[in-house]
């Protein structure tokens, strides 16, 4: 039996939009981060994939730009309850970046400038599900939204889409990232409302 809050009606969501449980639609683009916004210049930016054997694959800004980009239009779901529909991004698919990487790893720990980390199964980064995004809504990605480049994994809560991404560590065993070790769910599927540990 749900507890009814007397006299509460709410704003019924647009029936054409399918919202994950507990989410509401917003038209702004809110910001969630645990600290100040790191300022990383494109000249200094590097993205490094490290495998379980220690092999490193590195891209600088020029090499990233030389790779074929995709333009996904995706819905975003933040654990702080807002969802934003139909956002336009441009970025390089992780399938392209990981194509020549040899690994037996099943897990990924994503690292950011500023020290942020987040973990997810490697398969959630593959098969057209994830990008290193560098443009948003036709413009260079603003620093407060993760520029120069951020991970974009829209099928999971947005904290998995690490801003200011600096690299991905491929691992045989799972290791909790920043929010995951502060009580948030290890996987974070918005459709199963996996906000906090145990959900």
């Amino acid at each position: 039996m749900p507890i009814i809050s007397r006299g509460f009606h709410g704003r019924k969501p647009d029936p054409g939009r399918k919202l994950p449980p507990g989410q509401y639609e917003t038209f702004d683009f809110p910001v969630l981060s645990a600290g100040p916004t790191p300022r990383v210049s494109r000249d200094d930016w590097k993205f490094t994939v490290t495998t379980e054997s220690g092999a490193r694959h590195q891209w600088d800004w020029g090499r990233l730009m030389a790779l074929p980009a995709e333009r996904p239009t995706v819905d975003l779901h933040c654990v702080t309850k807002w969802s934003k529909f139909g956002t336009h991004w441009e970025g390089v698919s992780l399938d392209v970046l990981l194509e020549d990487v040899e690994t037996e790893a099943e897990f990924a720990l994503v690292h950011s400038y500023g020290g942020y980390t987040t973990n997810l199964p490697l398969e959630d980064l593959l098969d057209g599900k994830a990008w290193i995004a560098h443009r948003y809504d036709g413009e260079e990605l603003a620093a407060e939204h993760g520029g120069p480049a951020r991970l974009l994994v829209p099928h999971l809560y947005l904290w998995k889409s690490a801003k200011w991404v600096s690299g991905i560590q491929l691992m045989l065993e799972d290791e909790a990232g920043f929010w995951e070790s502060a009580g948030y769910h290890e996987y974070g599927d918005p459709w199963r409302e996996q906000r906090y540990q145990g959900d």
Partner: protein, 251 residues
């Protein structure tokens, strides 16, 4: 940015719990403190928030996060809700929810934007508008446990009517310094002209970076972006600046 240890209590499932409103208090013309009865509440760390779920007669439900304003107190949690014009949830909580009515609450949530009493370094609290709520919980816990850790609060509000917890902050506490920053209108005879928070305010009323304070910055996104950026520019290490952003809009 250090990683926080996994707290055992958080590892268990966070349950939704019915919570009846037992008291409401006006903090300002646009904000109300709501005290809820939460039988068996296991306590919280100051800075944590709860999720509030409202369900309508027809079964429609929605959730929002609200910081805990109070210090831990058996079976009782206080939230302070600032009414956002045309908001779905905050006007209902601030105006319509009556004593005896119920909402659902789960938490406490958040293991990063917290002050732990075992921290001994000086603390700098920087609040914009309703961003003072989790910081007030830190101030109250400091008082409750008789901590001597020096706290400084810089609190930015539009004008004197917007102050939350004004009387309690004006009464103050030993080792707690509060500086009010008015952005639009000041009280009479106020030395600082109205205007947004500046680096100079932080130099005058904050802690020097050399003291290595932990800084907690909370408020609307634009305010937090600006204040955290100034702290970094003044030499505070980003790892010692913790932020919580409440609202999508700038301000």
């Amino acid at each position: 940015m250090a990683r926080t240890a996994v707290s055992g209590r958080l590892a268990t499932r966070l349950r939704w719990q019915a919570a009846a409103l037992i008291e409401r208090r006006e903090e300002s013309p646009t904000a109300q403190t709501l005290a809820f009865d939460l039988p068996g509440w296991a306590g919280h760390l100051p800075g944590q928030h709860v999720d509030v779920r409202l369900t309508a007669e027809d079964g429609y439900s929605t959730q929002r996060s609200y910081s805990i304003a109070s210090a831990p107190d058996a079976d009782r949690v206080e939230l302070t809700v600032q009414r956002v014009p045309d908001g779905e949830v905050s006007p209902y909580l601030a105006d319509d929810l009556m004593v005896g009515d119920a909402v659902e609450i789960r938490g406490p949530v958040g293991g990063w934007f917290v002050w732990r009493p075992e921290q001994l370094e000086p603390v700098l609290l920087i609040a914009g508008g309703s961003g003072v709520v989790p910081l007030m919980s830190m101030i109250r816990v400091r008082g409750m446990i008789g901590s001597r850790v020096p706290f400084r609060l810089l609190y930015s509000v539009r004008d004197p009517a917007d102050r939350l917890y004004g009387p309690e902050l004006d009464r103050g506490a030993p080792g707690l310094d509060t500086t009010w920053v008015y952005t639009r209108g000041t009280p009479d005879d106020w030395a600082r002209p109205a205007g947004r928070l500046t680096p100079d305010d932080l130099v005058r009323w904050g802690w020097p970076a050399d003291f290595e304070p932990t800084c907690y910055v909370c408020g609307p996104t634009g305010f937090v972006e600006a204040a955290a950026g100034m702290l970094v520019a003044l030499g505070h290490h980003p790892d010692r600046i913790r932020t919580e952003r409440f609202g999508p809009s700038g301000g």
